[in-house]
Symmetry: C2
Subunit: 213 residues, 2 copies
DNA sequence: GAATTAATTGAGCGTACGTTTTATTAATTC
DNA sequence: GAATTAATAAAACGTACGCTCAATTAATTC
C-alpha cells in the first residue's frame, strides 16, 4: 500500500511529536526506537523520516522548542516590573505553572542533554542560561536594594532552580495537593530562601494550612 | 588466547565497576554497550559475563550499593543527637559531602531508574524513601519543638533534597568555590528554608563573604 | 608435576536497530 | 480528467547489540 485515505502531513507530524514526547519522557531517548514511535503514531517507521531527518533531529527539535517556549512564557509575564520580590514571585509562579503543564518536555530537556551532538548541546545550554540569567538579575536587584539577604547570587539561583524544577519529579496534580497549593508553598519557601523581608507576614496568612504530611 | 598472565578476578571486577560507573554516568545506561565497557577495562566483552550475569544486573548492583552506602554514611553520622537544627545541619553536610564525592554514582541512581525492572525499581525506591524519611523526621521534630517554622513537612523535605542534591549538577570542586564554601552556603539556605531561628546569627558570621557572583 | 580451578579469548548466534530505496496510492492542481 | 504533488507502505541494507559457547591458558592445589 501507499498513501492512506485521509492522511495529512500536519496532523501526522503533530502526532509524531506528541508520541515522541511521551515515549522519550517515559523510557528515555536511547530506549525508544523509531519502530516503537511509528507504531504509537499508527504508521510505518519509514514515514517518520519524511518529517524528521534523523532520530537525533527529532530530539533536538523537541528540546529547542521547549526551551524557546519557556523563554516566551517568561517574556509574557516579565513586563510587570515591580520590586524584586514581586518579580521573583512572578518568576517562580510562571516557572512552576509552565513545568507542571509540560512535565514530559521538561523531563526530556533535563535528562537527554547527553544524547545531543556538541553543537546542538551548546544551543540548548545557551537557551537555558539565558533563562537562568533572568533569575540572577532579579536576585542581584533584590540583594542591592536590600529586599533580599543572600550569600551568593549564583548559588542561590541554582538552588532555587533545582528546588522549583524538582516539583515535576514527584508532584501529580490529582492528589491531596492542588497546583495552587504547591505553588504557594514553593513561593513561600523561595522567599525565605532569599531572606525576603515580607517573609513572616506572608507566612501567617495561611498559618491554618500548615504542617501537613 | 585465554587466561592472561597476572589476571585476577577481584581486580577485574573492581575495574569493571569503576569503568561502568564512569561510562554510564557520562553517556547513560542505554547508550553504553558491553563492548565499549569491556574495551575500557581492557578485556573482551565475554569476560564481563563472568562477573555480572546481564547488563541490567550490573546497573542494579551499582545502584543498590550506592543507596546502601548512602544509608550507611547517614548511620555513622546520626548518633550525634542534638536538637533538630543540629541534626538537620548534620544531615545536609553529610548529604552534600557524600554526593560530591560520588557524583557519578549519584547521577546514575537519579537518572537510570527507568532502566530497572519493576521489582528492582521497587528495591531502589524503598532504600531512597528510607533515607528521605529521616529528613522528614528531623523536620517534624523541629516543627513540633518550634525550632522550625514550615508549611508542609513533605514538600519541604522534597524541596531540600532537590536543592542539596542539585549541587552535583553544576558544581566542580576545583573552581572558585571550595566544597566547604558551597556546603556552608547550602546549609545557610536550608536553615532559612525551614525558618530556623538561629538564621540571622549564622548569617552575620560570614557576612564578609557575601554577594559573590 | 599432574589434576584442578580461575580467568579469559575468539568466534558467532539471533535479533533489533536507524535508515534508505522504491513503489504505490490519495489529494490537489490546471 | 490528466498531470503533479503529498503521504505513505513494504522491503531491505548494513551494522551493532546483548549474550553464549567452546577452547585455551594461568594459577593453584595436592
Amino acid at each position: 500500500m501507499a498513501r492512506t485515505a485521509g492522511s495529512d502531513g500536519e496532523r501526522t507530524e503533530a502526532a509524531i511529536r506528541e508520541a515522541a514526547v511521551d515515549l522519550i519522557a517515559r523510557h528515555g531517548y536511547e530506549a525508544v526506537t523509531m519502530r516503537q514511535l511509528a507504531a504509537r503514531v499508527g504508521v510505518q517507521s519509514a514515514a517518520l523520516y519524511r518529517y524528521f531527518p534523523t532520530k537525533e533531529d527529532l530530539l533536538f527539535i523537541l528540546m529547542r522548542e521547549h526551551m524557546e517556549a519557556l523563554l516566551d512564557a517568561r517574556s509574557n509575564v516579565r513586563p510587570s516590573c515591580g520590586d524584586a520580590e514581586e518579580r521573583l514571585a512572578a518568576f517562580v509562579e510562571n516557572h512552576i505553572a509552565f513545568h507542571i503543564e509540560r512535565r514530559a518536555q521538561t523531563h526530556i530537556s533535563n535528562m537527554e542533554l547527553r544524547s545531543l551532538s556538541p553543537e546542538r548541546l551548546t544551543v540548548i545550554l545557551k537557551l537555558r542560561s539565558a533563562y537562568e540569567k533572568e533569575l540572577r538579575a532579579i536576585l542581584r536587584e533584590g540583594a542591592e536594594s536590600g529586599a533580599f539577604d543572600l550569600d551568593d547570587i549564583g548559588l542561590t539561583a541554582m538552588a532555587i532552580i533545582q528546588m522549583i524544577t524538582g516539583v515535576i519529579v514527584w508532584f501529580r496534580p490529582d492528589e491531596r495537593l492542588s497546583v495552587e497549593g504547591v505553588t504557594r508553598t514553593y513561593l513561600s519557601m523561595t522567599m525565605r530562601l532569599v531572606g525576603a523581608s515580607t517573609n513572616r507576614e506572608t507566612h501567617h496568612v495561611h498559618a491554618g494550612t500548615r504542617l501537613r504530611a
